[in-house]
Amino acid sequence: MSDSILPLAARNLRYEVNGTVLIDDLSISVVPGSFTVVLGPNGAGKSLLLRLLHGLIVPTSGKIDWSVGAELRGRTLRQRQAMVFQRPVLLRRSVEANVRYALKWQGAGPGELKEAAESALHRAGLADRRRVPARLLSVGEQQRLVVARALAGKPDVLFLDEPTASLDPASVQQIESLLIEANAAGTAIVLVTHDIGQARRLGHEIAFVHRGRLVESGGAESFFSDPQSDAARAYLKGEIVV
């Protein structure tokens, strides 16, 4: 993993919109091969945190440091990370064309493109549907395709914003096994979820966010057995946390 863009260190992130502070003095790091689940009540700033880390929005202050030299910033940084959104965004093209499009922008050459697309489709169980217009797939299949597309270029880190929030259990399971497989192959994963069960199943590390701050973070086991903060305790008990 010597050429990985990880570890990522975000320090003292602050993000305001019209004077309202949405992310406040938040520091977090992502190391190679980790599986971090970001938990927290609605409106805590979990999705914003992902967008800040992924570079879709720019923090008002604070620093996001990737482990790449200045000469490799920009394109390389984009190509080595990927993100999956809550609602699947698919191009109005075939299943296969969607995967190929992403691979091309991730810098895959013609030779590796074919192979990478093929293996992504197989992993997602969509090989026999490659010619179908992507938007004719069921919602579960669509999200599977989006995850497979994001993973096709073997990114160093994958961000996911509640990828299974509106899916049936079978689809959730398929996507979770895609994530476990990718993580085992070396991709670090940062997953935002509302599903505490999912966090228990998948997370190695937990980051608990409340009111734009990182209230608690650490190993999953200790977090679930012995949460340190009042907010996390209340959240895990299923109470409404404001």
Binding site: R51, H54, L56, R75, R78, Q79, A82, M83, F85, V89, L91, R92, R93, Y101, A102, W105, Q106, P133, R135, L136
Partner: protein
């Protein structure tokens, strides 16, 4: 009523007998309008998509201008092109006045704002949906414009049709810059105008029926195409 009946039988006669003059006029109309729409799409779709995805000072004004230009009166465009191309005009040396090329220029000017304004709207809506996903992939610049134009292709067919409708039905511009010269620049619409003023109502109506028929056939053919591809249009 007599006129209308006579018009229909005349129209049927003209078409079925393969009237050479009629087919010449129809052929010229189609080739001028199709060429103009093709050029207008190349310019207008690129322009519309670029305006849709970029933010710059004065962008709002450009959008207002494009929308307003959709209603550009054909005679005014005809007059402007006439002034440019006439012997005394800046482009007079090209000798283009009263040629099919002059009519193509005029129709291109008429249709480009329609295509640009509608494309801007279509592409902007699509961009809103794709924005974060494409940013995440690092898609920018020309690649972004190309991606959006391709993915909006089914809506853009309708945009091109709207442009074709405007071009093929227009009479004011082509009659000024083309001159309605028999066997040279006589179009469907100019021929109808001429026959009407000569009192030759049946022939004028017959031509009108053919013109409407062409519009129907073109739109039907395209929507048939769209129907095949349309499965993925709005899903």
């Amino acid at each position: 009523m007599g006129d209308i009946q006579a018009a229909f039988s005349l129209a049927a006669n003209l078409i079925l007998s393969g009237d050479a003059d009629l087919f010449e006029i129809v052929g010229l109309s189609l080739s001028v309008s199709v060429t103009a729409v093709a050029i207008a799409c190349a310019i207008g779709m690129t322009l519309g998509a670029v305006v849709a995805v970029t933010r710059f000072p004065g962008r709002g004004a450009i959008i207002v201008l494009l929308n307003a230009l959709m209603g550009l009166p054909p005679v005014v465009v005809g007059l402007a092109v006439y002034l440019m191309l006439s012997r005394a005009g800046p482009l007079g040396v090209l000798g283009l006045l009263y040629t099919p090329t002059a009519m193509i220029i005029a129709q291109t000017i008429l249709v480009t704002p329609v295509v640009a304004a509608l494309t801007r709207q279509v592409v902007e809506d699509l961009h809103r949906e794709y924005d974060e996903a494409l940013k995440s992939l690092g898609v920018r610049g020309l690649g972004l414009v190309r991606t959006l134009l391709w993915d909006a292709r089914y809506s853009l067919i309708t945009v091109a049709l709207a442009g074709f409708g405007r071009a093929v039905a227009e009479v004011g511009a082509v009659i000024i810059v083309g001159g309605n010269i028999d066997h040279l620049t006589r179009m469907m619409t100019t021929a109808i105008a001429l026959e009407t003023s000569k009192g030759n109502l049946a022939l004028a109506l017959g031509l009108g029926i053919v013109l409407v028929g062409i519009s129907l056939v073109v739109n039907g053919a395209v929507s048939g195409l769209g129907g095949v591809a349309g499965r993925s249009r709005n899903v």
